[in-house]
């Protein structure tokens, strides 16, 4: 797809293109067709030609069809929408009456669907990660994890005993580590083998406890 945009300067023309096409800066090629430098009294005018990769929407369409067909064959016909897109991620939203089953216990089914879509998508386009969500499950889950991290850390501080959280995947563990990174008095460490390790929260004894003067 090729479109032309005009603006007082190149930046303005690019901003217009991004606004109208709903794309990020690194998703298209820009070529200046006509440009006049702004003189002291004269307003400049720049025309740019924007080339957008059609591949992108084609790719999205294939991914969406894959998820919709998969869900239909599972017996849960659903609609799949694009939730967000940025340079390395494509967020999909499954809208369905059966979202409870589609999400599954602890997001198990959602994770399985996401894994298959990513394997399928990997053949089409290297480097884009697809995130599959339904009913905002992932956002709610992340919030709950951070809350759990904070409340467990408080307990560790109060009791002085370390706590071992349930097994989590790398992404979940990272959330816990980052949440407690800035918290004083506790440290976090992953224990175990494989993909699903457990985070242990313990008292940070490297630093002496803060005392009030």
């Amino acid at each position: 797809m090729i479109r032309e945009f005009e603006g007082k300067n190149e930046q303005e023309a690019i901003a217009k293109a991004m606004e109208e096409l709903q794309v990020e800066l690194d998703e298209f090629d820009v070529e200046v067709v006509e440009g006049s430098k702004r003189g002291l009294f004269k307003k400049g005018n720049v025309r740019i030609r924007v080339r957008l990769e059609d591949e992108n929407s084609d790719y999205e369409e294939k991914i969406i069809t894959f998820v919709e067909t998969l869900l239909e064959k599972m017996g849960y016909p659903s609609t799949v929408k694009v939730n967000y897109r940025d340079n390395a991620k494509l967020g999909l939203e499954i809208v369905s009456d059966d979202s409870a089953i589609i999400i599954g216990r602890k997001g198990k089914n959602l994770d399985a669907i996401q894994l298959l879509v990513n394997v399928y998508g990997g053949q089409l386009n290297m480097g884009t990660k697809i995130v599959v969500d339904s009913e905002n499950y992932r956002l709610r889950h992340e919030e709950n994890l951070v809350k759990l991290a904070f409340s467990s850390a408080e307990q560790v501080k109060r009791s002085g005993r370390s706590r071992l959280l349930e097994p989590m995947n790398p992404f979940e563990r990272r959330l816990v580590h980052t949440a407690l990174n800035t918290m004083e008095g506790v440290t976090t460490k992953s224990e175990g083998e494989g993909l699903y390790k457990q985070v242990r929260i313990s008292i940070d004894d490297e630093l002496p406890p803060l005392r009030k003067k």
């Binding site: 067909t69 998969l70 017996g75 089914n109 399985a112 894994l115 298959l116």
Partner: protein, 77 residues
């Protein structure tokens, strides 16, 4: 229906689409789904440490949740 589902997933993942075959063995309470793919494609339906195979199994049981039947996936080589 399980046959259709597994066939669709397998065909989306492999190179040699025509070599995909799915065979159902239906019991009273459980169904065994046997999946056969080209020798070179086996890794594509199993994945590292069986991650893809396990994802297919999870999806199969989610799909069977409505009927309450137990479904098992076996990948033949």
């Amino acid at each position: 229906m399980e046959k259709d589902l597994v066939e669709y997933i397998a065909k989306s993942l492999v190179d040699e689409v025509d070599e995909v075959s799915v065979h159902l063995i239906e019991g009273e309470q459980s169904t065994i789904v046997e999946l056969k793919v080209a020798a070179g494609d086996i890794g594509k339906v199993i994945g590292k440490q069986g991650r893809i195979a396990n994802a297919i199994r999870v999806i199969l049981s989610a799909s069977a949740a409505k009927s309450g039947k137990h479904v098992q996936l076996e990948i033949l080589d």
